[in-house]
Symmetry: C2
């Protein structure tokens, strides 16, 4: 049996399952401080006796195997988690191999193995929610270089009529600063869920998402794009970004029909936890 | 002995060499129409009796092995080359394995093997000249998905005082449309080489190149970035894009010192032809 941790900023999802993506028992644990959260995680897995653990974590994290701080959370503002040696602590407590990657890379792996990109050696998984993040499978491997990608913070061109200053503490009006859930809420004075009928909200959201898709397509050329996260549950955004993306690309690259190419997660909300099971499987194989 | 073709829009460079990057005889052949250029290419290699050929080609090209038109040049405006079955014709004439990729992916492979990114499993190679293109090695493999990347056409934010309309026939003011050689020449009314002492020219160039680097770093996280091409021979651009890139990133991601991280090609003008030799070697191994 394999163990999976989807470590988010507000909650940890822990589950046991198998390498075919089957999920057994699962629990949710609030993300408070490591001294509270992690013992509950360990208690859960101790009970089940897993062979390996896969962690898909909020970030930024250190995924560089040659680094002294490999396996830790790096520069998060979340109290108690900055520098937390996540892999080391889990390995010490449970004594099993531990796989470690970003939550979005885990989700990309899940979708490429069992979801909307099943059987493909290439896909991009994007989540638009409290933040914006993305992971990718490239030539069958999770995208990684110096570190993991930070695709949510790319630059976009501001809409000429959008005077909202942007919410990113680092870049103000990067993609996340203009298009994540908190930016929508601050710009329009209400949560996305309360703005469902306001077309201008989703038109503007589509304007920014289309630019991000343009950049990702030109740079990575993924075989499939999966767009998840709370904000993307507003399906009306899809027609807006499709329209803007067509205009931006202007037939420069040959793509499948956009409605087939850019889709919702095939695994729904389970992409991350299933991907984390696969990280556990990979940890055994390595 | 291996053969390499660096197929550019104005000239073909053909060379023989070995898998250690050693280059023997080399010739240049003007790129006119396939019926003129290709027989000269074939005559050169027939004389040497090579075991395999690697082609680093101008694009866009079809690099999808599952495609019926694999190995051809696709939508180029260059007369006679649209749809030209490049791999098929070379293989038919010479009867040896043929490797095929973009000129910039070949250069990235050359730099990762023998050049500025030697020994790294990850690098990005960018050329800024008549056009802007980039190739990358990701986890030891050339970046490829649905197709090869088209990184030169990403969106950038226009400088508020830059009123030049842009030169890209598809996107007007994408990166290539604003920052490639022909855009510099049209905007300022003189070739880059004649504008060496005009600081504002290179400041603006740095402004756009920095944005491109920001996007590439956040999306790909390369371990090394190599910036070549005719325009980048104006070394004064490096200090301008370093300044703008620092401002844009705002310490969000941990990077090596920028002057060590973003460098000129270690192989000089030979990155493409040496990379093409490696494509030939890979064609034998596959």
């Amino acid at each position: 049996m394999l163990g999976a941790i989807e470590a988010g900023g507000t909650k940890f999802v822990c589950a046991v399952g198998d390498e075919l993506g089957g999920i057994g028992e699962r629990i949710q644990i609030p993300t408070t401080i490591p001294e509270e959260t992690i013992p509950r995680v360990i208690a859960f897995f101790s009970k089940h006796g897993v062979e390996a653990i896969g962690i898909g974590s909020f970030g930024p994290i250190d995924v560089n195997l040659d680094s002294e701080t490999y396996g830790s959370i790096t520069s998060t503002p979340k109290p108690g988690w900055r520098g937390y040696p996540f892999v080391q602590e889990i390995r010490k407590a449970l004594g099993v191999p531990v796989g470690f990657n970003t939550d979005v890379n885990a989700a990309a792996l899940g979708e490429a193995t069992f979801g909307a990109a099943k059987g493909l050696d290439s896909c991009l998984y994007i989540t638009v929610g409290t933040g914006i993040g993305a992971g990718a499978v490239v030539q069958g491997k999770l995208l990684q270089g110096l570190s993991h990608p930070e695709m949510g913070h790319i630059l976009v061109r501001r809409h000429p009529e959008d005077h909202y200053k942007g919410k990113c503490p680092y870049h103000s009006d990067c993609l996340e600063g203009l298009a994540a859930g908190p930016a929508i809420e601050e710009r329009w004075g209400a949560k996305g869920i309360e703005l469902v009928s306001r077309e201008e909200v989703w038109d503007l959201e589509g304007y920014y998402i289309a630019q991000a898709l343009m950049q990702y397509i030109l740079i990575l050329s993924p075989k499939k794009i999966i767009l998840g996260g709370g904000v993307m549950n507003q399906k009306q955004v899809f027609s807006y970004f499709q329209k803007y993306l067509q205009e931006l690309l202007n037939d420069y690259v040959a793509l499948p029909r956009l409605s087939d190419y850019i889709v919702s997660p095939g695994l729904g909300d389970d992409a991350g936890i299933i991907g984390s099971l696969l990280l556990a499987r990979n940890a055994i194989q390595e």
